[in-house]
Amino acid sequence: MSDPGFTPDEMMTIAAARALRNDDVCFVGIGAPSAACNVARLTHAPDITLIYESGTIGTAPDVLPLSIGDGELCETAVTTVSVPEMFRYWLQGGRITVGFLGAAQLDRFGNINTTVIGDYDSPKTRLPGGGGAPEIASSCGEVFITMKQSLRAMVEKIDFFTSFGHGVGGDAREKLGITTKGPTLLVTDLAVWKPDPRTKKFTVVSLHPGVTRDQVQATCGWQVAFAETLEETPPPTERELTTLRDLKARTEAAHRGEKAEAGAGGA
């Protein structure tokens, strides 16, 4: 395969960005979601409202934040509220249209684990835990997930339900009294997935340029379902790619540069 002119990571971020609409109010998880949300804002969705759980509403950072509370998020925000207000009025209040999450472990129903690998009480690996995710998953109008595919990450059975997707599928959300849509989109470095309308199993609806079905299955721990009419994800446009690369370059310069070479003090 010849060099397509972009990396799978770039395709993932750009495909995720495209799913956001100009009038969305988006609760942004850190990492891949943050890049996708800001690419959307810098390309086709200039009026999108980006919200970070630190309390910054309507923020427009020039570089990607490392944490969810970097100073630039506040400096560029429409307003910055307290954390209890963020979770009560803005998230639980039902004002967020899209919650954008990453995942350490994911199953085919969009259930996410970022808590532990192994047993909760004596974990093999203690991961960071849920943070805002449990209520982002239930209170946002819908949830988009973005992550790189791997057998370790996309598994038949997750070790812990950090946040609830579609449970065991079907009407599992309704049964728990959850009225929001839950995961409606998964964008990986290889494909775009959507839940089957009835079973809620994630189904590949679009392969990124040059990606094969076998590649998708080889990096996914469950038996992959493919849509009947499988599309090819349009490759990144020049504008999308430039926007993403510029953003990443600004970000890396900013994050490295803040540590003085000769500084005496550590953290």
Partner: protein, 285 residues
């Protein structure tokens, strides 16, 4: 009524072995200088409460000061894991720690309930989430009007809260600006509050009426420690030291490297050292 004193005195007079203590600040204004002072004073058997334990609790846990951790996100934000906390939870090193884990919404509501003098917090949370099964402090209540089942968790009421703020005035009122996080709630939920500040000003005459101000009678002690939030940041004073957060990942990965770092930058250091650590992070303007 707020007493102005040294950080050493503020910690000695307000933090005891066995206390439940919140060193709060949501990515912003994390009171690292106060935590380092607590480490130097050798406090132990603490119940450490923090939404995002961050490096500040990685350091305290790594030094064996924590009996229990109450948290909602045990990560190094944007970097990865907290390796000293992991070592304690996975391997019991340097001691075992109890864990009480919540979501951010849960912790935020629990602090809010503590500040509001309520015994518990009610919110729509944990639906389908595994935490409810492993944390006995997550229960439910039914709405008496609609019958809807909502999550209920106990209010957080620490013995002591430490926060870092931008300013105090001479009367001891405290101003917090920018990402105000959970600071007001932590202070009001706690029995005693200790505040480190970047500076002390004559008065707050020009401060906006709706700013986050903690009146002097809500604070026990104030110590001026410029740079005291490093490597987190102080809006209007200096930026987050993201490079230090990235670097911490390596330091904390190794028990000996961690001990060496703690010796050099905490045990043998003083609150005054923080000013130098942020000098390169201050804005030129």
């Amino acid at each position: 009524m707020a007493k102005f004193c040294s950080l050493a005195d503020a910690v000695a007079e307000n933090l005891s072995d066995g206390d439940s203590v919140a060193f709060e600040g949501f990515t912003h204004l994390i009171p690292h200088a106060a935590a380092h002072e607590a480490i130097r004073q050798g406090r132990k058997d603490l119940t450490l409460i923090r939404m995002t334990p961050d490096l500040i609790y990685d350091q305290m846990v790594g030094m064996g000061m924590a009996k229990k951790l109450v948290f909602s996100y045990l990560g190094n934000p944007g970097v990865g894991l907290l390796r000293r906390c992991r070592d304690a939870i996975e391997n019991g090193h340097p001691r075992t720690v109890e864990v009480e884990e919540h979501s951010h919404a849960g912790m935020a509501n629990a602090y809010e309930a503590g500040a509001a003098g309520l015994p518990f917090a009610v919110f729509r949370g944990y639906r389908g989430a595994g935490l409810a099964a492993v944390n006995p402090n997550i229960k439910s209540v039914a709405c008496p009007f609609t019958g809807e089942q909502l999550a209920a968790i106990p209010a957080l009421k620490p013995n002591v809260a430490f926060i870092h703020a931008q300013k105090a005035n001479r009367k001891g009122d405290v101003l917090v600006e920018g990402v105000i996080g959970i600071q007001k709630e932590a202070v009001l939920a706690a029995k005693r509050a200790v505040v480190t500040v970047e500076e002390v000003v004559e008065n707050f005459a020009d401060v906006h009426p709706n700013c986050c101000v903690l009146p002097n009678w809500t604070v026990a002690a104030i110590a001026m420690v410029p740079g005291g939030a490093h490597p987190s940041y102080a809006h209007g004073y200096y930026a987050r030291d993201n490079a230090a957060y990235l670097e911490w990942d390596k330091i904390a990965a190794d028990r000996e490297a961690f001990q060496a770092w703690m010796k050099q930058y905490v045990l043998k250091a003083a609150p005054e050292d923080f000013a130098g650590r942020v000098s390169h992070l201050r804005r030129a303007d």
